[in-house]
Symmetry: none
Subunit: 253 residues, 2 copies
Amino acid sequence: MFAEERRRRILNYINEHSRASVTELTSVFHVSEATVRRDLKELEEEGLLHRTHGGALAFQSVSFEPTFSEKRVHHAEEKQRIAAKALEWIHEEDTILLDSGTTTYQLAQRISSLRSLTVVTNSYQILRELEHTESLELVSTGGVVRRSTQSLVGPIAEKTLEMIKVDKVFLGTNALDLEAGLTTPNLYEAQVKKAMVQAASQVILLCDSSKINQTSFAKVVSLSDVDVWITDEEAPDDVVQQVSDAGVEVILV
Amino acid sequence: MFAEERRRRILNYINEHSRASVTELTSVFHVSEATVRRDLKELEEEGLLHRTHGGALAFQSVSFEPTFSEKRVHHAEEKQRIAAKALEWIHEEDTILLDSGTTTYQLAQRISSLRSLTVVTNSYQILRELEHTESLELVSTGGVVRRSTQSLVGPIAEKTLEMIKVDKVFLGTNALDLEAGLTTPNLYEAQVKKAMVQAASQVILLCDSSKINQTSFAKVVSLSDVDVWITDEEAPDDVVQQVSDAGVEVILV
DNA sequence: TCATATATAATCAAAATAAATCAAATTCAA
DNA sequence: TTGAATTTGATTTATTTTGATTATATATGA
């Protein structure tokens, strides 16, 4: 194995496990402690992980959650602009469904000014955010707590979504591809998202350009199931054109 | 666990619980008092928490809130004792249902030490309390947010409860009367509580003496539907006797 | 208020971890 | 093939972390 290859693998390993000790890495990669430390130092200098005494932590690590990860939202500005634009699709008396995710969370933070709105969500992060906004009727889908995305998933969430019909769903996704459609790393999340699309008259996708031409594990829906796609201007022209041709209203902000 | 990782986790723990004592932290993280103090000092210097004699407080105003309001809880000591006693009915591998309410909330605060437990609740206050306790499988019933009791009610919550079967339900109530049984001021709450009783093999009622011989608007269930009633020693003897005669195991703490 | 219990800070030694150094092994380029 | 550059692991030295100990400070209740 090449040195550089090993460094990539170490990074992968740490991202997958959230953390790793030097000793652990020496036995996994069959190299000396000195080498592991050199690798970790390199990776830290590249800003790809966080070195600690005894090993290293991934940036997405749970231990970092409150302090670091919040500040490290990728493409935060694009997401803010997308969320701000999405607000235009929300009107008084609407019943809307908010998916879990960073962009939809930012949208949630902005809707507290609106009145007579019914908000249904499977994100307990959003629930907490809107808990005190008394002008809203707030509904939780229920379900099993999935901590990594702060969402509620599983049969309970799906059953609830079968019971309701909403005007609009604001959907997030991890990956968007012309052929694969919307995909996400977790099967349970995918199921819930699918149920959300079923429950909504209009599907509004909030997805920044960094997720374009990516595919993940579990299929949510096809692009043709989306009515409106709000993204940022970095989105490649050809993708925008093709999605547009497929009948989706594409909004660039 | 790395030192830095532990410090982040301590911060999480304190934010989650609003406060923590040094002794508490030593037993949770299995390190000496000296280490805990050093960690707290570091975190204080970073401006992430507020150090006090004996422990530390979270900064977040939301976390301060419950601490203060907790002090205004009526019969707080009795409720604490009742919650502590109720813990004896919870075992590993159990699936339990926690009703919303102050006493059940205090019970929730105590179960973070237990492992391999599945907790279902209609209280989003409890959900938030247990959100970070990774040893628990945590399930929300979903439903419409009812802010005054920080609970989820309505058909969604009821439907979810129809879908599940649990070992034990820990039920709170606003009023207890020999003839009227358990009653509560809100019809939706009553419906959900009724569904909870249906879903549970064993019904454990947590109700301090101040609620005895009171009736409220909406009927939940009869006293005979209760299996165990944990209350404080101020409970009138005659009531205890009669409830006991009705086949309920009455525990005085 | 004072006595008592409890909590903290300071100090130190042991253990764990990291950094520095250097020589051997490997790769690369002419 | 040769020699320079790079990579690696062993060794030594330095640093960090930790818990025990003890003296000091702070809270609490009679």
